[in-house]
């Protein structure tokens, strides 16, 4: 079983991102379980969402304590919360950032990939310049980095479930897939 944790801020769409990714993985034959952190959510406050992925029906219904990979929708969260809490060694940290992975020096035992999801979102008119909606773009990066799900399935999942600016959202994911920056010494894993 693979466990993913999303870090975002209330209103950024981390919960929706987890569910979209779940639908994409399910379409490719995986068992999935997607849920938010069970608390009171406020706009702008740090929030989490979770995703379990397995080849068999998922019986475990607890919080995720030791994620295999994390997705960070807002790089300022790295300063605000311990995003790597419980993250398994060698786990991927997929960050929305315009910096290169090498610039994040504090994550020695993990692997870092970055994508400028904010820029991609703004270029695709998703949200506003001050509040870009990055949750679909970041999923493209997840597909590229982990190889667990195809970018086609991610785009399809977005097309089926996102009611507004559907094509723009799907395009953002595909662009992010192409523009994801992996560390120079690493290569994407095979799915």
């Amino acid at each position: 079983m693979i466990e993913i944790r999303f870090h975002g801020r209330g209103g950024q769409g981390a919960v929706v991102a987890s569910k979209l990714l779940a639908s994409a993985l399910f379409a490719e034959g995986k068992s999935v379980q997607s849920f938010p952190s069970f608390g009171v959510e406020r706009r702008g406050a740090p929030v989490m969402a979770f995703l379990r992925i397995d080849n068999h029906p998922i019986k475990l219904r607890t919080n995720v304590y030791n994620p295999d990979h994390i997705i960070v929708l807002d790089a300022t969260l790295v300063e605000a919360v311990d995003v790597t809490s419980g993250l398994k060694p060698k786990g991927w940290i997929i960050l929305n950032s315009d910096h290169s992975p090498e610039e994040f020096t504090g994550f020695a035992s993990f692997r870092v990939a970055t994508v400028d999801a904010t820029k991609i979102a703004v270029e695709n008119h998703l949200g506003s310049r001050t509040h870009p909606i990055v949750n679909t773009a970041i999923l493209g990066a997840f597909s590229k980095v982990t190889g667990l799900v195809s970018i086609e399935a991610v785009a399809q999942s977005i097309r089926e479930a996102v009611p507004a600016k559907t094509e723009e959202n799907a395009r953002a994911a595909v662009e992010a897939y192409d523009k994801t920056v992996l560390p120079s010494n690493d290569h994407p894993t095979e799915g």
Binding site: S18, K19, A22, S23, F26, S31, V32, Q33, S34, F35, P36, F38, G39, V40, I58, K59, L60, R61, T62, N63
Partner: protein, 384 residues
């Protein structure tokens, strides 16, 4: 068709499939998205029902009592404080023998404020005359709602379908939406025996003297007795059509086990995970999932647990001054039996505290290692 959906979305699908005609609700976390989804279905015509937005949960129940009296299939959903605010009307719905169905999303009660998952809200309504069915996953949620209407309309008692807050209500997982035509075959349109038509003079629920009142109560008890068999056969019919059945309880990993863990709701799922691991380690611990809590399936419990040596009961709620709800009821089932298992009552997971595989293992270890429980309640995960 199978789709990734939350427990709340599964509820809305189940209600739509049941062709409910009146929905009345007051929004409360975390069931809010149930009524959001249903109001959208009513607004865009996917569901041909009247949606009433009322000023309180008490009014929500009062209004579906009225619509059901008029012979219309009716629904509401609530949670926690909303359910306990309805308390007076719950008794009324059962006393008036109205087959309304309500979903309750299991959540802790204040004070102090807490929106987390536990079962005290619904279990503390056990004496209201409502049938209670607890669901383990979102598939069971969507399947249980049409079943609930069949049961309710057969025995003329209200049914509460219960799912865990967040762990099911806000958790999305692959869920099959049953085919509408086959649901129509399974669940015919509702027709009340005595309905308020407005076409002639009628009086419902008049004052009833001591000469008659007791017999009304007796009939509720008889209907509850009947509900056990009705629920079983309704589920068999459902399984025949959709190849998914749940029974009123389910045994899991019982091969040769003389110790059994009793669970209900979503924690059953994590308990299956633990039971599978224990089986691989060569430990024989069975699992009994209880779907039906009211009526309490006393005879079935005696039959399935009668031969076991030890029974661990996982409660996520308690009656203060007594013990866990399920533990109490299982103990009372055996009070006049010559042979009875030792019953270990555990309380865990209150107010949204996670019940982990380690917690479940701790319950099982305690049960295996002790000849009898040292206390009526064994608290798990309690901070000292």
């Amino acid at each position: 068709m199978k789709k990734v959906m939350t427990g709340n979305e599964a509820v809305a699908q189940g209600v739509k499939l049941s062709r409910v005609q009146v929905i009345s609700a007051y929004p409360i976390t975390p069931q809010t998205t149930i009524v959001e989804e249903l109001s959208e279905m009513c607004a865009d015509g996917r569901l041909n029902a009247k949606f009433l937005k009322v000023e309180s949960e008490h009014s929500a129940m009062a209004s579906i009592i009225a619509s059901c009296t008029a012979g219309v299939r009716s629904f509401t959903a609530t949670s926690s404080q909303g359910l306990v605010l309805m308390h007076e009307m719950l008794h009324w719905a059962a006393g008036a023998r109205l087959p309304v169905v309500m979903v309750n999303v299991n959540r802790a009660l204040g004070s102090p404020w807490n929106i987390g998952n536990e079962q005290s809200d619904s279990l503390s309504q056990r004496d209201t005359g409502w049938i209670q069915l607890y669901c383990e996953n979102n598939q069971e949620v969507v399947d249980t709602i049409p079943q609930a209407y069949r049961i309710a309309e057969t025995v003329k008692l209200p049914v509460m379908v219960v799912l865990d807050a967040f762990v099911l209500s806000h958790t999305a997982e692959p869920t099959e939406i049953p085919d509408q035509e086959r649901i129509d075959e399974f669940l015919p349109p509702f027709k009340g025996d005595f309905t308020l038509t407005g076409r002639r003079h009628q009086s419902f629920n008049p004052i009833t003297s001591p000469d008659y009142y007791m017999e009304f109560r007796y009939k509720i008890q008889k209907a509850m007795d009947q509900a056990k068999e009705v629920a079983r056969s309704v589920d068999e019919d459902y399984e025949g059509l959709f190849r998914r059945g749940y029974g009123i309880m389910e045994k899991y990993n019982w091969d040769g086990a003389d110790t059994v863990l009793v669970t209900s709701g979503a924690v059953t799922s994590t308990s299956r995970f633990v039971a599978d691991e224990l089986a691989k380690e060569g430990k024989r611990v069975g699992l009994l999932k209880m779907k039906m809590f009211r009526p309490f399936p006393t005879e079935a419990i005696r039959e399935v647990l009668g031969g076991t040596r030890k029974v661990a009961v996982l409660d996520r709620g308690l009656s203060f001054g007594q013990s866990g709800f399920f533990a109490q009821e299982i103990r009372s089932t055996f009070c006049n039996e010559d042979e009875q298992p030792r019953i270990f009552g555990f309380v865990a997971g209150l107010g949204g505290r996670d019940v982990t595989p380690e917690d479940i293992r701790q319950m099982i270890s305690y049960t295996l290692e002790n000849d009898r429980p040292r206390h009526d309640i064994i608290w798990i995960g309690l901070k000292q």
